[in-house]
């Protein structure tokens, strides 16, 4: 049992113990292959990780929406959901959307995906009257639809307009993404993939298209790709003035 226990001290000691051996696997000077633990399925997510996404807006192609369509296909909303046909465009679910912004002074146009920012201090969680809006130990913000009453306070509280409300009876949902009438929903950072050591569908699609504008990883691990990118080149929060400490960061804005 001990060697399977997810334990901070153990893994840290383990890491230092391994440093010498790992030198042989160094990818580049000072850069080591990340110590990855696939968390066993029977163990809870812990605060040893904080999952985040870094988006490089300079690499994000204008007119490309692979991240959006990948999310639709993965989670079964939008075009992948034929049953939500009575809702208007302003009512339909939008877990992730492409936003184009233009600097009026210079005319510089940028394109970026916008979704739940997975705040450390999420306003949606603050306002939820039932505790349905919640943040997991590893920083992923979710809606517990089992206890969501559909009041939509969280939708009003969210500064990023990241949440949607389902207005219609649905059928043939994806197994990995249960969703139904009367509940609020938003980007889950593909939590079902993350729990299996995977990568969110949007990030995967972006890389598959060779845009490589999105990095997913553990913000608490200094050796993860996302942490090294953030350390070297930086990354901004949207509405940093709100002090939400978002898990999704943007570079090039």
């Amino acid at each position: 049992m001990t060697d399977k226990t997810y334990n901070a001290d153990l893994s840290r000691r383990h890491f230092f113990g391994k440093a010498a051996a790992a030198a042989g696997m160094a990818v580049a000077p000072g850069v080591f292959l990340r110590q990855v633990h696939a968390r066993p399925a029977d163990q809870a997510a812990t605060s040893e990780q904080r999952w985040g996404i870094l988006i490089d807006t300079d690499k994000c192609a204008k007119g490309c929406d692979s991240c959006v369509t990948a999310c639709m296909d993965e989670n079964g909303w939008g075009r992948a959901d034929a049953s939500e046909d009575k809702s208007g465009p302003h009512q339909k679910a939008q877990w992730i959307r492409k936003v184009t912004i233009k600097d009026k002074q210079t005319g510089h146009v940028q394109s970026l995906p916008l979704m739940c920012q997975h705040c450390e201090n999420p306003p949606c969680v603050d306002v939820c009257p039932t505790g349905a809006s919640m943040k997991r130990a590893d920083g992923i913000v979710l809606v517990d639809k089992h206890i969501c009453i559909g009041c939509r306070y969280c939708m009003m509280a969210c500064p990023y307009k990241a949440r949607s409300f389902v207005h219609e009876d649905l059928e043939d949902q994806k197994v990995v993404a249960p969703r139904g009438k009367g509940t609020v929903e938003s980007c889950t950072m593909c939590v079902h993939r993350v729990d299996e050591n995977g990568t969110p569908a949007c990030v995967e699609a972006c890389n598959a298209d060779n845009h490589n504008a999105m990095y997913f990883g553990d913000l608490k691990d200094p050796n993860s790709e996302i942490s090294r990118q953030l350390k070297q080149y930086g990354g901004k929060e949207l509405r940093a003035d709100l002090g939400l400490n978002t898990g999704v960061r943007y570079r090039g804005l």
């Binding site: 990855v36 649905l170 949902q173 994806k174 299996e196 995977g198």
Partner: protein
């Protein structure tokens, strides 16, 4: 026992017995579809059938919170696994949806007139008809087939790389 109590008791007993007298013989026992496979050799399902009949709702309730709030994604008592094994295709290859008597959950719930709201959000049929799960470990992630899409090292490879000398 006073006369009043006696009358009350008699009326209550009559009311309780009423449905049985009315329905007796009218409604046949539900035909519960057979599961696709045996999860365990000992008792078929993931727990003895008597236990599952009585306690499946509590186990599902417990599991849903573990899964959603803590990310514990094991097979046992996972609703997706119940559906994968118990909702079987009909002769035409189609699956009955929840609400039709042929659906595993509906077969009993309709009979007992107990409503369920799982399926207003959850899918009521298996997503992939070829999908068969192995129950060997009991701890496999239940969507394991999609775990390592993309350009990632396999878990085994990573374990060798990072924990090779732990044994």
């Amino acid at each position: 026992m006073s006369l009043r109590q006696l009358i009350q008791t008699t009326i209550m007993a009559g009311l309780i017995a009423l449905p049985f007298t009315v329905l007796a013989g009218d409604t046949p026992s539900p035909e519960i579809p057979k599961a696709k496979e045996k999860a365990t050799e000992a008792y078929g399902c993931v727990a003895p059938v008597e236990y599952m009949r009585k306690n499946h709702m509590d186990e599902l309730m417990h599991k849903r919170d573990d899964t959603l709030r803590e990310g514990i994604r094991t097979d046992k008592f996972s609703l997706a696994e119940c559906i994968n094994c118990h909702v079987t295709p009909e002769e035409d290859g189609q699956f009955a949806s929840f609400g039709e008597d042929e659906h595993f959950c509906s077969s009993c719930h309709n009979y007992a007139s107990v409503s369920v709201d799982c399926f207003s959000c959850h899918r009521d049929t298996p997503e992939d008809t070829d999908y068969r799960h192995t129950f060997n470990s009991g701890n496999n992630p239940h969507h394991g087939k999609m775990a390592l899409k993309g350009k990632k090292l396999s878990v085994e490879t990573l374990q060798v790389l990072t924990e090779g000398d732990q044994q």
